[in-house]
């Protein structure tokens, strides 16, 4: 698995799934909510990201349901997805900490 910087849609998809399995439309609405409406995933972006994430072994299909004659497939985080999200969170936190300390230096 390559450790390049994670794209924002992927980051938010993993974040949405960290709370538990969700289907595609559930991920879209959840991502919009947790990002305060800043990240609005469209279907093409969502499924391209899910394709990449499942190829990388970070998410996997959980179960399927039929609701109103429509197929819903739920996705869940794999253990690898969990640790990848944790690593990305640590990276972002370290970046933010550096920036914050520099801003404090500049401000004092």
């Amino acid at each position: 698995m390559n450790i390049r910087q994670m794209q924002e849609p992927s980051f938010f998809i993993l974040t949405a799934l960290a709370a538990g399995p969700q289907h595609g439309y559930g991920i879209m609405t959840d991502v919009a909510q947790v990002s305060d409406g800043r990240v609005k995933l469209r279907a093409g972006t969502l499924y391209a990201a899910l394709d990449r994430l499942s190829t990388d072994g970070l998410v996997e299909a959980d179960r399927e349901e039929i609701v109103d004659a429509r197929l819903r497939r739920y996705y869940r985080l794999t253990p690898a997805g969990h640790s990848r999200l944790a690593a990305e969170t640590a990276r972002l936190r370290a970046n933010a900490a550096v920036a914050a300390s520099r801003l404090r230096l500049a401000g004092s």
Binding site: H23, R42, D51, R52, T55, R70
Partner: protein, 168 residues
Amino acid sequence: MGAAGLEIRYRRLLRWYPAGHRALHQEEMLGVLMAGAGPGRNRPGPAESADLLLGAARIRLRPGRALSDGPGWRDALAVYSIAAPLLVLASTLISLIGWLAVGGSARTGLDELSVMPALVVSGHLAGTTPAWVAIGGQGLVACALTAVAYRTWRRSRSAAGGSDQSPT
């Protein structure tokens, strides 16, 4: 007609996805698209269409994924990368014209034309169409879309001006 028409148009866009991906995800994506479409919507928006086409391109370009069964997919992708923005531009123009004109009747012809690039590219993938025919085909489609747009605009303008020369 609204929801059924919308579903048909989404299915048309989903044809750009690789067969393996469609077999697994098409119905699921359709469910997401229909759930996300507001009430009364009868065609995908330009941004949503572009996003679906980009998603298809991204999935096809994924390293390690077999892009197609046949040779010549590189040419087809090149054609695709030209055709997709043109189609999106054309559909935006047509939507704008439709909005400026009376409404429903201003869209005649676009649905049939928008299938053509898919046919040409898949023909090329199957090895029956040389690249220049595929590329020329894209050009023709773009010209045809422009012509349809112009004709629609003329017709709606003359209808609005009261001197209706083209009975419909």
